[in-house]
């Protein structure tokens, strides 16, 4: 083969497609959109549990709230002159919608979902500049807004499908016409809230808790048979999703661990010294919104601290406030308030917990 023939086979680049850019020239295949879709995936177990325990209407609430949130985001972008498709395609509005729906009572009317969607997307997120700029968790802004504005609707708890009963007929029943033998018309925390007294040292006080805080009931709470919001009932399903989030490196494990740990320690101490004030720590962990809050709400990337140290401070703060509200506050539940309160402190926490660079030397003088 001659030299010429050899050369004629070689295809050389012309440079017509060359792009100039700064290093690095590779990029992780992950994107904001993928992250949001993975979060949605991690919420699926709890969503399925919600539908199983509260029936088809729970699914309607979740789907409709997601659509409302995406719609609210699209409308805002339209009005604000932002690219509509580019914004809703990142999936963040859908995540907010699903999280909000999972924090609503199973029997909530759909018009409440609509108000919630606008509270979440407009007041919670877009007014601050959209994704990444909101100081508060948008879903929680909406939930707390609704709780304050519509307390009756937001605390009406249908009875969950029971493992004991073969007849799941009364799925969407309201507090007034529920069987007496299950914890109806209230969440376990609600039950406890009505009996707690400040620093009651008597053993008798503890007896009040026994109906809701015993092994059989704790098992039910773990599996999900308890009154509450659509997504917060099944601890098992939330744990599956939470572990998925940690495995996919979407959340900092320190947040759920420190949050739940703090609640366990505080309620454990109080339970030990004043059994009339608090049920067992396990009761606190398995009931209310602690699990969904610790795994899905407090871990929201945008509204939690950026460093791991900051995450620990933030999570412990959430745990303290949640415990205090649950034990001594007027509301039976404190997860939403505690996370929102700590959200407000995130810029400060970020400043306090700023890390020193590698090889940092304190300057003299």
């Amino acid at each position: 083969m001659s030299e010429n023939e050899k050369n004629s086979e070689v295809m050389l680049p012309t440079g017509s497609e060359l792009v100039l850019s700064s290093s690095p020239h590779l990029s992780s295949p992950d994107s904001v959109r993928r992250i949001m879709y993975k979060v949605l995936l991690a919420l699926v177990p709890a969503a399925i549990a919600g539908v199983w325990f509260f029936g088809f209407y729970a699914l309607v609430v979740m789907v409709v709230t997601m659509l409302f949130c995406v719609g609210a985001e699209a409308l805002w972008c339209k009005l604000a002159g932002k690219p509509v498709m580019g914004t809703i395609a990142d999936g963040s509005a859908a995540v907010t919608g699903l999280l909000l729906a999972m924090n609503l009572p199973p029997g909530v009317p759909l018009w409440v979902c609509l108000i919630g969607a606008f509270l979440a997307i407009w007041l919670g997120k877009q007014i601050f500049g959209g994704i990444g700029n909101n100081p508060f968790n948008p879903a929680l802004v909406a939930r707390v807004g609704l709780l304050i504005a519509l307390p009756a609707i937001m605390t009406t708890w249908p009875v969950p499908r029971s493992f004991d009963s073969a007849d799941p007929a009364a799925k969407i029943t309201h507090a007034t016409d529920t069987p007496v033998d299950s914890i109806t018309g209230a969440t376990p925390l609600g039950e406890v809230g009505t009996t707690k007294k400040i620093l009651d040292k008597s053993e008798a006080a503890y007896a009040n808790f026994q109906a809701v805080d015993n092994d059989a009931m704790l098992w039910k709470y773990f599996l999900g048979e308890k009154g509450g919001c659509i997504g917060e009932t099944s601890v098992l399903a939330l744990l599956i999703g939470g572990i998925l989030l940690i495995a996919l490196k979407l959340i900092n494990w320190r947040v759920p661990v420190c949050y739940i740990g703090t609640v366990a320690i505080i309620t454990g101490l109080v339970h030990f010294f004043y059994p009339g004030v608090s049920p067992s720590p396990l009761f606190h962990i398995l009931t209310g919104g602690l699990m969904i809050g610790a795994f899905f709400m407090a871990t929201d990337m945008v509204t939690s601290p950026i460093t791991s140290t900051g995450c620990v401070v933030f999570a412990v703060g959430c745990g303290v406030i949640t415990s205090v509200i649950r034990l001594w506050g007027n509301y039976p539940e404190g997860v939403s308030f505690s996370i929102l309160f700590m959200n407000a402190l995130v810029p400060l926490i970020d400043r306090w917990c700023s890390q020193r660079p590698f090889g940092y030397v304190r300057k003299r003088g």
């Binding site: 295809m11 690095p24 963040s92």
Partner: protein, 440 residues
């Protein structure tokens, strides 16, 4: 090997596909002789050397063609025999036109009288240092810092450790891998010579665990040169000096400092091999192993290229391309420089010629920070890149300085992992430039 024996630093990233499989099994191949070479004058950090030849001069291979101008500068030698046609402006790796000595090869590749070989065991340090300078050695890992300067630390610094950098943490590059695998004794002997110059007893060679064959090849001969082979975790940027020193010795280079502030000197394995040639054979640095690779290169491989080889010719050696590339990068994909011209000549620090396909060369549009913290986790310098990026976007360079932007290595770990595809490295560079400008 147990996990405990694998050393590493805190932070860093692991690129999803490292592209090394394309070329890691291709043995080093000598490139055919070309008819023209353009040797860049700016082969080193510091002052440009002064040309000592003019148009029309006949030169032999290894003949001095430009002389170091001052201490921080390096000699240049002719890569082949032929005629100097002049000093011409060619596209340089940084995108500007820079002067180069153009040599028309006569096809003989005839060497000049070599410098005498030195028995380094008996030679004194001054003689070895002089040879290092005479042979025009510079750091071949990328920075091109003159080696004789690196090996003469100021007397107030105590150096007790020499680390050979064989981490090759950049994706796609395999030149150092092949060099260590095929010529371990050349690398090890150069390390021993450098250790003698520095008068240090602790000599390590750090290699990432994805080059097990090279680790074994080095391990078989390392003891006779008094060198310890350290296996490093496959983690980018393991080959960054500060991170390498941390991984191997546990010492931290103080912020703003140099390796010598931690008692260490770090040298690239290619430089060590060139040191062996210079001392034991009297051959100056005129060629190097370069990885020519990328998904669109027909036969990705590792080539022994003469300095001054135009990149387009190097690509021709590798069989050309299978599709039009979207990016031409000198060096690796994490810290290398994108080029706009295929006429850029290969220099002493060209570790790789990388052609990325068009699909991988898109400029991602960036979106807002979602504070996911991946950049914080990935930053080997323990900075908070997202907040620094925000400061730069708000033109708050004072805030960026307060938050230690000057410590940034520009390794690109933050920008690689950012799901919002923010151009964080550009932000850091901009902040550094602004801060330097304001200090003046």
């Amino acid at each position: 090997m147990s996990k405990k024996d694998i050393l590493t630093f805190d932070g860093g990233i692991h690129p999803v596909s490292d592209g090394k499989a394309l070329s890691c099994n291709a043995p080093i191949t000598a490139a055919p002789l070309l008819d023209k070479y353009r040797v860049l004058l700016s082969e080193n950090v510091g002052k440009l050397p002064k040309p000592v030849v003019k148009a029309g001069d006949l030169v032999k291979k290894y003949q001095l063609i430009a002389e170091a101008d001052g201490f921080v500068s390096a000699n240049l030698h002719s890569p082949t025999s032929g005629k100097v046609t002049g000093i011409v402006d060619v596209p340089g790796p940084m995108g500007t036109l820079i002067p180069a000595i153009e040599i028309e090869a006569d096809g003989q590749d005839e060497p000049c009288e070599p410098m005498p070989a030195i028995d380094w065991h008996k030679a004194d340090v001054k003689e070895l240092l002089k040879r290092t300078a005479d042979a025009g050695l510079v750091g071949m890992g990328g920075a091109a810092f003159p080696t004789h300067v690196k090996l003469s630390p100021p007397p107030d610094k105590t150096i007790d450790t020499l680390i050979l950098n064989g981490a090759e943490c950049e994706p796609y590059l395999t030149a150092d891998h092949r060099l260590m695998l095929e010529q371990p004794e050349r690398v090890l002997e150069g390390a021993a010579i450098s250790a003698k110059i520095l008068n240090v007893k602790n000599v390590y060679i750090g290699v990432e665990a994805n080059k097990i064959d090279a680790i074994e090849a080095l391990g078989r001969r390392a003891a006779e040169f008094g060198i310890k082979v350290a296996t490093l975790k496959v983690q980018y940027p393991q080959g960054s000096e500060k991170q390498l020193i941390m991984a191997i010795t546990g010492r931290k280079v103080p912020t703003g400092g140099l390796p010598m502030d931690a008692g260490c000197v770090v040298q690239n394995v290619g430089t060590a091999a060139a040191m062996t040639d210079a001392v034991c054979r009297g051959i100056p640095l005129v060629e190097r192993v370069t990885t020519i690779t990328g998904e669109v290169v027909k036969n990705p491989g590792n080539w022994l290229l003469k300095i001054g080889t135009p990149v387009i010719k190097a690509i021709e050696f590798a069989g050309g391309v299978t599709a039009e590339p979207g990016k031409l990068i000198l060096g690796g994909p994490m810290m290398g420089f994108a080029q706009k011209s295929f006429e850029v000549p290969v220099a002493k620090n060209t570790s790789g010629i990388l052609l990325l396909p068009v699909e991988l060369s898109m400029n991602y549009g960036s979106t807002g920070c979602i504070r996911c913290g991946r950049c914080v986790e990935g930053c080997p310098m323990n900075l908070i890149p997202c907040l620094l990026g925000n400061a730069v976007e708000a033109e708050r360079f004072d805030l960026a300085a307060q938050n230690h932007v000057m410590d940034c290595l520009e390794c690109g770990s933050c920008a690689y992992v950012c799901p919002a595809h923010r151009p964080l490295v550009q932000h850091m560079r901009r902040a550094k430039a602004e801060i330097r400008k304001r200090k003046k």
